[in-house]
Amino acid sequence: MSVNNLLENWAQFRHFHPVEDKPHDPYKWAMSIDLDACSGCNACSVACYAENNIPVVGKEKYAHGQAMHWIRIEHYWDEDIGSPGGREFPEQGAQFLPMMCQQCEAAPCETVCPVGATNHTADGLNSQIYNRCIGSRYCSANCPYKVRYFNWYDYPTTDNVWPETMTRQLNPDVTVRSKGVMEKCTFCVQRLNAAMSNARSEGRKVHDGEVQTACQQACPTSAISFGNLVDPESRVAKQWARQQVELAKDKQTKDAEPGGSRLRGYRILEELRPYPSVMYLERVRESAV
């Protein structure tokens, strides 16, 4: 902290393109989610609660919209329910979409935080520093997906979400968050860091499938795949390539094709240019669940 700070060459940190200017090497964590495979069973969400020490807020707070589900299963219903010739039972028209932090490359939440509590890591994660957060909630206000969750109450102590008998259920690798801080999906950063550290000590890179996120691990239909987008041999990179979805583009070339693309891959709210790291595969299945 001196005058030299001001004289440094800050231009080297300036970005002209949010993705292409900072090549991720050797890792860029990304996900793809096959909506055709998703059965809406919520196992991913449960696994996430267990892995990441997420407080279960209870019925009343859930009804107030204060739930903390880092990954949530969204239900959408077909519009033809009840109309003549339409489906009779709403369940038949249910569609599911697992939604979590999209780990955007140009994250709208990062620039607005007054204290810099949310940052981009070298391996392409949107990180949250709980200790630094002062709870201005500007990040959540600017998040187009609304996937950031605020600790409205002091869950670990006063709200007693984890009674004495349950404290051993908590994951020791993950911080328990106190009241007044923002939190969100981390892509299970504790697992990633452990895997990267192991690999580094053995002088190699993390290979595909070596590390799984909790949601991916729990998914009975393997709808979620997760891995390193930089490694062209990884399952995720292959899926992205096959769907012609490119991380650095805000409009995919395939979408410009006349009549639209027949490929299923898309990213949510891509047109806002946050460059999300999660690709969804459109549902094609006609039948219910």
Partner: protein, 455 residues
Amino acid sequence: MEKDIREDIAWAQINKDVLRSLETPRPLYWVILLVALAMVGVGVGCEIYQYQTGMGVANMNNPHVWGLYIATFIFWIGMSHSGTLLSAILHLMHADWRKPIYRFAEAMTTFSLMTAGLFVMVHLGRLWQFYYSLPYPNERGLWPNFQSPLLWDAMAIFTYLSSSIIFLYVGMIPDLAICRDNMHPGWRKKLYSLLALGWEGTDRQWRNFRVTYLTVACFLIPLAVSVHSIVASDFAMSQQPGWHVTSSPPYFVAGALYSGCAAIISLFIILRYVFKFEEYMTLSILKKTSRLTFAIAMVWTYLNAVEFASVWYSHDEAAKDVLIQKATGTYAPFWWMMIFCGSVVPLMLAFKRFQANIPVLFAVSLLLNLGMWLERWMIVAPTFSHGYYPWAWDHDQWPSLVQWGIVFGSFGWFALLFMVFCKVFPSVSMYEVKEMVYHRSLALKNGETAEEGVH
């Protein structure tokens, strides 16, 4: 045409009248003070409860992460603008009718900024760590995030607050000397002697004083514009539908001047009665203030129309949806109320017979400020209720009593600070009123001489 002030008031009479306001106000003063104190009590109680339990008691949720706090914060920041308008801008334009009323307008600026500052604090999830947002030296070399509009906000507000305190104080020095010279020994005498900085009214002192006052006034004007533009940037720089509007900064500044002028009318009427200032705060000045308010109201209405039109004719479907939601959804009653209070009620001020009618003006000015508070709420809440992501739409969230209590308490806090100020410091500028009387009587005398010459 009625006179702004009588030309034949003796200077000693001015001193006497203003100094009397420091000692014996009407009983209503004490009633206001007590009510304000009770309101502050409610606010403080709610804040203690929220601090202890967590922000959840405010009934905020995902997506409604900002509530009335931010809306009321903008309201108070806005309120602070007309003090600068009245004292600095009108000072440069040599509009001398501002002289009897600018002191309390400046006090209003300072205290509403202090109130606004409180809302930033109340809003924080971890109030005890608020200093992380300050660029203070620390061994880790950590800085706040200079990209964040919230940080610009904090800096703009702090600069504006400190400058307006300086402006208020500098403008008061000759008056403090008058107080010092006329008070019986006691705490007041000590206070005024300290603050008057040994003012003797020599030529040299007056010359330096004029230059200083003018410099601070010139410094303050761009600040007043920048501070509310930056508050607008909190919204305009985000990418949420309904906030991401280019015309936001001027719109916010116009809204700020508007609510400030309306507040000046309300406080004008209260002070005039409470401190028996009928001789100084004349109906003619009130008339000028209400005309000014009317003009600003029309500017605000125009900018509102610009904003709606630019959203309506844009290709931004999400922003358009938010606008439709405002006009037809859950918030429709409040939104239409805002249009009514902000654009229809001020039309009353266009009629000459209402321009100096005290009961009508009092009611109108309160309605205008209600409209302006609703405006701020209608900027914040509907966008949260109807953002980009349909799954996260929430049209039913309603702020809890804790939020309402703190908002309610803030009005008490402002009234408390303001009323205490008016009792401790002269709320009418004695030396400037004397100047005004002098200039007017001079003009009158010149006119008479000229007339004599004709005969």
